[in-house]
């Protein structure tokens, strides 16, 4: 196993903007939770339903009424989500991170995260959660704008939005950086010798 660094230098693409307190029921409604993400043919469907619990007015700020995903839609339309406060609050369902990953989301930038969502993102290696350090990006950036999240220095991530001719310095990944760099909790634990290097 190589000790490859799993953080990309840059994540580029269109952003999808949501507001405060987007809970995991809105990210993936409970009616889809009988799908088992450990089965590949079921896992991909989480991407189709990602964020389908958002009320119409909250679907892609500032205008709304732009559904994030749809059935059979290929992933990757919005690789970056910009959110307000407390993204991912509510239920502990890891399916929320999986839904966003399956839809092609690679990073979420929020003022701050609900803790279980944050841990799931990092420990499962689904996406990179960055905090905007109190800057209210969700009121400034519009859905569909092209952005670059520059992670080459993970202690000082930078978000650049060309349409606004603006860059913002985001909060450092901090204590969890070694897990993000490893890719997920299991890879990190193997590198640290906390568990056996290979599955038995």
């Amino acid at each position: 196993m190589s000790d490859q660094r799993m953080i990309p230098d840059v994540i580029k693409g269109a952003v999808y903007v949501v507001g405060d307190h987007i809970d995991t029921d809105q990210i993936i409604p409970a009616q889809y939770l009988s799908l088992d993400p450990s089965r590949p043919q079921e896992r991909k469907k989480f991407g189709w339903y990602a964020l389908c619990g958002l009320p119409e007015s909250s679907q892609g700020l500032p205008k709304g009424a732009l559904p994030f995903a749809a059935e059979e839609q290929p992933p990757g339309r919005f690789p970056i989500i910009i959110a307000g406060k407390n993204f991912g609050c509510g239920s502990s369902r890891e399916h929320a991170c999986i839904a966003l990953q399956e839809a092609g989301v690679r990073a979420v930038i929020a003022e701050f995260f609900a803790r279980i969502f944050y841990r799931n993102s990092i420990n499962g290696g689904y996406l990179i959660p960055c905090d905007s350090q109190q800057t209210r990006l969700c009121d400034t950036i519009a859905t569909g704008m092209e952005a670059e999240l520059i992670l080459s220095n993970p202690s000082k991530p930078v978000l650049h939005v060309a349409a606004l001719k603006t860059s913002w310095t985001l909060g450092p990944l901090g204590d969890v950086l070694p897990i993000v760099e490893a890719g997920d909790l299991f890879t990190y634990a193997r590198r640290q010798g906390l568990i056996a290097r290979e599955a038995q």
């Binding site: 009988s34 993400p37 369902r93 799931n120």
Partner: protein, 432 residues
């Protein structure tokens, strides 16, 4: 300087003499719980990471309680329970509570307590955000994801950051018209749905210690609705007696040091609080029942880990005795033990079941039910944009089903009073 209860438990679990807020520690886990929604993916990750023939780290410490999607025709839901059953059998897990058998329990957080899996001083992790409920027993209990649960299954350990503590003191006993639900809705309304993020919420004062274990569980259960990492109550003789009646395992109750320090302290006088609701669509949209009185309702719902315990139904039955409900009213006991209790517990000489049936309520089988919406055929699910008052925990958009449904959260007493009038009603109107 002393430690809070959260700090003491985490220090012990980490094998350290002391920890401080923001320390990151690896803790030994005493109990890992999972259920039918998060269990199958957890098992998938466990086998992928530790191998097809891997064994759980300690089969006495893994508890599996199917409870979410039980009474549904959803084929995947049944398949998921089959996955749990097979795993429990392969691993010879003594604490698997199978669907369709005498062992079936229902809502995991209540079943954990009934079956003696909640013990003071321990660390309990579960793949469900309301795992925090067990903090009522003076233990550290919090929700984790599937990856984390799979890691614990194989190693018995997990990294945790020590949270700073917020302390909530309730002075004086609760008046007859208040329940623990009113207290916690008041707390959430005070600090917001993010006010407890990354923090431990410790509950204290005469108002808390005069509560039954069930009511204490309601109080701590909704810690997560304030974003809290864990909630807890220092154990007293009520806690110890309750645990000893259900568990023969040894445990070591810990209590906060006299000189412990916390981030912030909040103090409330129980006598000055009123029956409280959370308006649509966030648990922190606090109002008094009086302020939203006469809001027209389409439905009332009594159930879940938050509001489906025997004490919740006794409180509701006191109001529903010799009354008729004006809106569809669902009564869904959290567990099979509580369902049996509906047939044996009496109020004014009648069983709770008789009272609910005579009032025109629909009784459902024990499970998480419509609290989280669930499959479309779930009893009581809000399949239309209707207005519902509920004793459950969460009212974010779509939580109980339809995105445009309006859910008011309230105590079982307020739900019952409102069901009788068909509009939101302060339960004091029935208790005079």
């Amino acid at each position: 300087m002393g430690m809070t209860l959260t700090e003491k438990i985490l220090a012990k679990a980490a094998g350290r003499s002391r920890v401080e807020p923001d320390d990151t520690v690896w803790v030994n886990v005493d109990v890992l719980m999972t259920h039918d929604v998060c269990g199958p993916p957890t098992i998938g990750i466990f086998h992928e990471q530790f191998g097809k023939t891997a064994r759980v780290w300690d089969r006495e410490k893994v508890v599996i309680i199917p409870d979410h999607y039980i009474f549904t025709q959803d084929e995947n839901a049944r398949r998921n329970v089959d996955t749990l059953r097979r795993f429990a059998s392969e691993q010879r897990l003594p604490y698997y509570y199978d669907v369709g058998t005498e062992r079936y329990k229902g809502v995991c957080h209540i079943a954990l307590a009934e079956e003696g899996h909640t013990r003071p001083g321990e660390v309990l992790l579960g793949t469900d955000s309301h795992t925090c409920t067990a903090g009522a027993f003076g233990e550290f209990a919090t929700g984790v994801g599937n990856t984390e649960a799979a890691f614990v299954m194989g190693t018995g350990k997990l990294w945790l950051r020590v949270p700073p503590t917020l302390r909530f003191i309730f002075d004086g006993k609760l008046p007859a018209y208040l329940m623990a639900k009113d207290l916690i809705l008041h707390v959430i309304g005070t600090i917001g749905v993010d006010g407890g993020t990354y923090r431990a919420l410790e509950f204290d004062g005469e108002g808390v210690y005069s509560l039954s274990m069930e009511e204490r569980m309601t109080l701590v259960n909704m810690t997560i609705e304030a974003g809290g990492k864990n909630g807890l109550i220092n154990p007293d003789e009520v806690t110890i007696a309750s645990v000893k009646a259900r568990s023969s395992k040894p445990f070591e109750p810990l209590r906060r040091d006299a000189d412990a320090t916390w981030l912030k302290e909040y103090r409330f006088n129980c006598a000055s609080l009123e029956p409280t609701v959370a308006k649509p669509s966030s648990p922190d949209r606090r109002a008094t029942a009086r302020e939203v009185a006469r809001t027209k309702l389409d439905r009332a719902y009594l159930g879940s880990c938050t509001g489906g315990k025997i004490t919740d139904f006794i409180a509701a039955a006191r109001i529903l005795h010799r009354q008729r409900v004006k809106v569809d009213t669902f009564v869904v006991p959290a567990t099979t033990q509580i369902a049996k209790g509906l047939e044996t517990t009496t109020v004014n000489g009648q069983t709770l079941k008789t009272i609910f049936e005579a009032a025109g309520c629909t009784l459902g089988p024990p499970s998480c039910g419509a609290c989280l919406g669930g499959p479309l055929d779930t009893l009581g699910r809000l399949n239309d944009p209707i207005v519902c008052i509920s004793s459950t925990s969460r009212n974010f958009p779509g939580r109980m089903g339809h995105k445009q449904a309006q859910v008011y959260l309230a105590s079982p007493m307020t739900v019952a009073a409102s069901a009788v009038r068909g509009e939101i009603t302060d339960p004091r109107e029935f208790l005079a």
